[in-house]
Symmetry: C2
DNA sequence: CGGTATTTTGAGTATCGTCAAGGCCAGTGG
DNA sequence: CCACTGGCCTTGACGATACTCAAAATACCG
């Protein structure tokens, strides 16, 4: 938790957050003055459900799980948050879900009171917060669409495409290497299984079913290569979510 | 679509919208001046995905479906919106989902440009919009939690409890009559099946399975009585979503 | 190179989707 | 008033899919 909280480091981190791009310099200076960097290790809890989090956070690196422990001991994962995402229920009550780190995570934290005061004073900041929430709402609905598929292979296909589409810019999860599309699964099988509303065993079978059908290749459990993108799109059943053009930044001109 | 858009009617409708309760009178007057009432019949489309809706709407009566047609001809329903809910992606691009009426619906519509101008001028209004979106995000996540259940009976139990918890105040869907808890299912079996990620046949079996086990009684397909609330809570698997006290307004002092 | 956690595979059972048929209810027209 | 029709809900039978439990293989880390 103790890391270099120097002004220069903080400036760097703030600059890397895409949401903060268009903010006025005066506001950025105020934000820089009150931000604190924090880091968490794998499976460490940032906050638990029911807690009134004392800060709002922006993820500057790593992946966060939004989860809820179930009565039967299982864990439901209702969302994954990545670089640039905001969390913390500004202007609103307590958390409804527990926040936990998946892998190492670094965040940029602002005291809730100070941030709310700043947002009240700067409409730009409040607007930024709102767009962040709208973005999350979209993510949540896309996830519901994926969860709606009957077969696990379909949900997995949807997840892989989601990584490609929404998380292209995140921590080099997606790479095009010698014309081959490779990506890193950023969470382990158990977490992903909870996220896709299935069990690790079924998820494993789904990965290998896709591999056997030639849609993907498994280099390691976490490193896969996409061999047949159109087939994945077809399987996921929501081609329209991934309109033609969605993947153009991945295949700029692959004639 | 042509109905009495008189000032007195509009004032009544605006007054009934809970979100607008605490707004300053001046703002309410401005809102009243630009609002238009519209109504829709069952299955009528309000707007389709990809459309840039020209207005923002508040539902003053009835239920809206948020849906997406799938490639295989199926329909995915990712949300239901009720009285008081807002829709329309203010300050943000086009709709990601189609909006359709389930049963007869009445809305209060504001020109998007005028509403955005108003929201820019009145921070209270922008705050109201943000809280509305946050509320929707919570709904979406609760839905994800319900969709996560493996068995259809579990998802159905979750849905029934959701009606009790979130929609108590909506159009008398939930009633306590002579100590009996009765509720109205506001959508038909096909829509509900799409919503619970299953088929009408399985949903029907789930309803009757709950009835056979004595958890509910089916008076008509749309009118049910809850006989064993604790068992439903247990089945749904998310007791903590429905903390003790959630149902106190239904059973104020049923010693 | 060993030890541990994670992933994978196997076999048996539970649950659901699918297709087809039957039942119920409301509205229509004789 | 009753038969008819269409839509929706329900039931039945069968195949597809996934969960569970247990064990083996693999990957990861010191």
């Amino acid at each position: 938790m103790n890391r270099s909280n120097t002004d220069s480091t903080k400036r760097d981190v703030l600059r890397r957050l895409p949401s903060f791009g268009g903010l006025p310099p005066d506001l950025l200076a105020e934000l820089g003055a009150i931000c604190r960097l924090r880091s968490y290790r794998h499976d460490q809890l940032i906050a638990e459900e029911g807690e009134r989090l004392s800060f709002v956070g922006f993820i500057s690196g790593g992946i966060l799980r939004l989860q809820k422990p179930q009565a039967d001991g299982r864990l439901s994962i209702v969302g994954l948050m990545v670089e640039g995402d905001m969390f913390g229920r500004i202007f609103n009550g307590a958390l409804h879900f527990t926040l936990a780190a998946t892998g190492d995570v670094e965040i940029c934290a602002f005291s809730r009171e100070l941030f709310e005061e700043l947002a009240t004073r700067w409409p730009e900041l409040e607007r930024l917060v709102m767009l962040n929430i709208l973005n999350e709402l979209d993510s949540a609905r896309e996830w519901m669409l994926i969860l709606t598929s009957y077969r696990v292979t379909e949900r997995l296909a949807g997840f892989l495409l989601l990584i490609c589409r929404r998380w292209t810019s995140v921590a080099k999860l997606v790479r095009v290497d010698k014309g081959r599309l490779r990506l890193t699964i950023p969470v382990n099988r158990t977490d992903l299984a909870h996220f896709l509303a299935t069990r690790p065993e079924s998820l494993s079978r789904a990965f290998h079913a896709l591999a056997d059908d030639g849609l993907i290749r498994l280099h390691t459990p976490y490193e896969i290569e996409i061999l047949d993108l159109p087939a994945l799109l077809d399987l996921s059943g929501s081609e329209d979510l991934f309109t033609p053009g969605s993947f153009e930044d991945l295949f700029p001109r692959q004639a």
